[in-house]
């Protein structure tokens, strides 16, 4: 095989071939939608045509066996057409209303719940964890599974004040929208990296390594006569950026690694502007296989929110209304000094008004 023969730069297949006929016929001409029940959407076109969507939850990490199952179900109920959502749910695109219930039933039998629509909790956007990533401070899929098992009733119902988006990332790289989620679960390291001085000179460029550190904690050093680096422990805040650029600088630490909880972020421009998630629990130790500490923390926050927020109020909007002191009180979360920002623009997070609930 020569390079000339190889097919390259063709890009993805054209989506048009995958659009169901009803979509092609009403493309861009949808009029409104309804959510007759959790997990089911009806989109009505200006023509009067209807498209029925059945949304099923999936663990995202799926076997080809399951993909074949979904394909078969699509053949049976939705003319072979289906799609995935931006939160990793699978959506069957039906023309026939009568197929909705049988499809839901079969999905249920195979273990795939239907839901994730409207004011509930959809699938957790997440990352690789110990399944595939080297820099993970915790597993991803396991934590997500453990949480979803408990918030499951909110996947199959729509009774929260508003959408509640949970996201998970296994390290500060935050592969996902963790930094703008109603609840974010974030793995973190808590010890400075350990340097393998033998491997380092072979694997890494010292200047690149030094400049990778946001706090300037890494300095050149000669160890056993070889050019290497040293890390000023007091300056390191365990971001792992050095590890990403140089595998000889090992950040993983079974004892120190764990999970933090963040709340109140959002992405949509609806009502309030997009907001970042904010740290509320700085650290919970890794506790596989079912991470009870993390699960309890998330469930507690969901419950407090469900009980106290007003209709249409996202987590962050609710907290802004009641104030952070009240949030910590209601959620019964001890206020930790780590929650107080001390990074670059920290001053912007200080309270600079006498407006205080006394």
């Amino acid at each position: 095989m020569t390079t000339a023969q190889r097919i390259t730069d063709i890009g993805p297949p054209n989506y048009k071939q995958f659009l169901p006929p009803v979509v092609k016929a009403n493309y861009g001409k949808w009029k409104y939608h309804e959510i007759p029940k959790p997990g089911v959407l009806v989109h009505v076109a200006e023509s009067g045509d209807k498209l029925f969507t059945v949304r099923a939850g999936s663990p995202r990490l799926i076997s080809t066996v399951t993909i074949r199952l979904f394909a078969a179900l699509a053949d049976k109920y939705s003319g072979g057409y289906l799609r995935w959502t931006s939160r990793n749910n699978v959506e069957f695109l039906l023309e026939e209303e009568k197929n909705i219930e049988p499809l839901i039933k079969e999905l249920g039998e195979q273990g795939y719940p239907v839901g994730g629509t409207g004011n509930g909790i959809s699938s957790i956007v997440h990352t690789q964890g110990w399944v595939h990533c080297h820099s993970a401070a915790t597993d991803a899929s396991g934590v997500v599974k453990a949480i979803m098992d408990e918030v499951y009733p909110h996947f199959t119902s729509m009774e929260l004040p508003a959408k509640l988006r949970i996201a998970f990332a296994c390290c500060l790289n935050m592969c996902g929208a963790v930094h703008c989620s109603d609840i974010a679960v974030l793995g973190l390291h808590r010890k400075p990296p350990v340097i393998d001085h033998t491997a380092l000179p072979k694997m890494c460029e010292v200047p690149t390594l030094i400049s990778s550190c946001p706090t300037g904690a890494i300095r050149p050093a000669t160890v056993d006569g070889k050019a290497s680096v040293e890390i000023e422990d007091e300056q390191c805040m365990y971001c792992g950026n050095c590890y990403t650029v140089c595998p000889a600088v090992q950040i993983n630490n079974a004892e120190a690694d764990g999970i933090s909880i963040w709340v109140g972020g959002k992405v949509s421009n609806a009502r309030s502007q997009p907001m970042f998630s904010k740290l509320v629990i700085p650290f919970i130790p890794n506790d596989p296989p079912r991470w009870p500490g993390v699960v309890d923390a998330v469930v507690n926050i969901v419950d407090v929110y469900a009980k106290n927020a007003r209709k249409h109020e996202r987590m962050g909007e609710w907290i802004e209304r009641i104030g952070w002191p009240k949030f910590f009180e209601l959620a019964d979360i001890p206020f930790s000094k780590y929650v107080i920002d001390d990074f670059k623009h920290a001053g912007e997070t200080y309270n600079r008004t006498a407006q205080i609930r006394q």
């Binding site: 390079t3 190889r6 097919i7 890009g11 297949p13 054209n14 989506y15 995958f18 979509v23 949808w30 409104y32 999936s58 663990p59 995202r60 799926i62 076997s63 080809t64 993909i67 394909a71 053949d75 072979g80 057409y81 289906l82 799609r83 995935w84 959502t85 931006s86 990793n88 695109l93 795939y112 719940p113 997440h126 990352t127 110990w130 399944v131 595939h132 990533c133 080297h134 820099s135 899929s141 599974k145 453990a146 098992d149 499951y152 790289n173 935050m174 929208a177 930094h179 703008c180 946001p214 971001c239 992405v267 949509s268 421009n269 609806a270 009502r271 997009p274 890794n286 079912r290 249409h312």
Partner: protein, 396 residues
Amino acid sequence: MEKKELKIPMLEELEKGPWPSFVTEMKKSADNPMAADTLRQLEQSYEDKISHWKHGGLVGVMGYGGGVIGRYSNLPEQFPEVAEFHTYRVNQPSGWFYNSDALRTLCDIWEKHGSGLTNMHGSTGDLIFLGSKTEAIEPCFKDLGEAGYDLGGSGSDVRTPSCCVGPGRCEWSCYDTLDACYDITQEFQDELHRPAFPYKFKFKFSGCPNDCVASIARSDMSVIGTWKDNIRIDQDEAKKYAKNGVDIQAEICDLCPTSCIDWNGSNISIDNSNCVKCMHCINVMPKALRPGTEGGATILVGAKAPIIGGALLATVFVPFLEMEAPYDDIKELAEAIWDFWGEYGKNRERVGEFIQRVGLATFMDEIGLEPVPEMIAHPRTNPYIFFGDDLDEDDE
């Protein structure tokens, strides 16, 4: 081949409970020795509370600089089948639309060359083929190409663009997200496959300000649909919502960010000049309210995760752009950004950080965009104005 035992008691705890289990999924593929060793190594991680993967070392397909993520077990003797365990980022179709045949073709390829495990989909949007050996990379790529698929981005290149379902189903899409995403992905194949930037560059396309692909938080160029004219109102439908229990005053008017929508008990009225197109009122009463018909998009630039200067949301560059194929304006804008950032951006400096370093006004100057007040939340509060040499030409 003799089958090794699969002893994964901790993981099997994660088969319990109502939510579909990734462990069950992996077991479905466990006939594949790579999938089985993945499970075993993962069990080991659960015991040790630490990842057993290593990174580093370049793997990939000939002529491409990205699309494959190299990964190695750090316990290769114990788990020889995953000693090499690289993932492919397969560029998904716009909107993640498939049909059953297409999926089966993909399954065929992946069962032939890899672990049988996938992510549907990765956080950037790619279809992720999870785990194959180095030797399988080229053959798998060949089969993918013949089936009409290509790899997505990784490394310092254009990353796989993604978009919301848009006009494919959603009544609110203010431009054709599926087409824009497809067209721009095709246009920038070279930039996608051959890393030449200081760092990654992501495009995401949402049809309206609800931003269902979270573009404003996760893309270097975020294209968010919006409209110029008035919200379309169906007063009869509004009355029906009210009758059916929607408290329009409390649920809509009181939550409108600019208080520009009124309800007098029987009619909605909107001061459209003050409407910021937030979507809230429309979201609550989709039968009564619809975006206007003069659609287009707001272009925002520079969102990113925290590494290394802290996370950023995207910044408004163009408040309103018409979004007609072939999308020349947006392509030229992207290229102008790449030129400047490509020349002066530091290694591993995302464009959002670069903008902050050189200053928004300077950046706009360099890429040829006129400064407009929509670009800022508010004017500067500090008096440290750098007048430079322009002193004498200014609008004094």
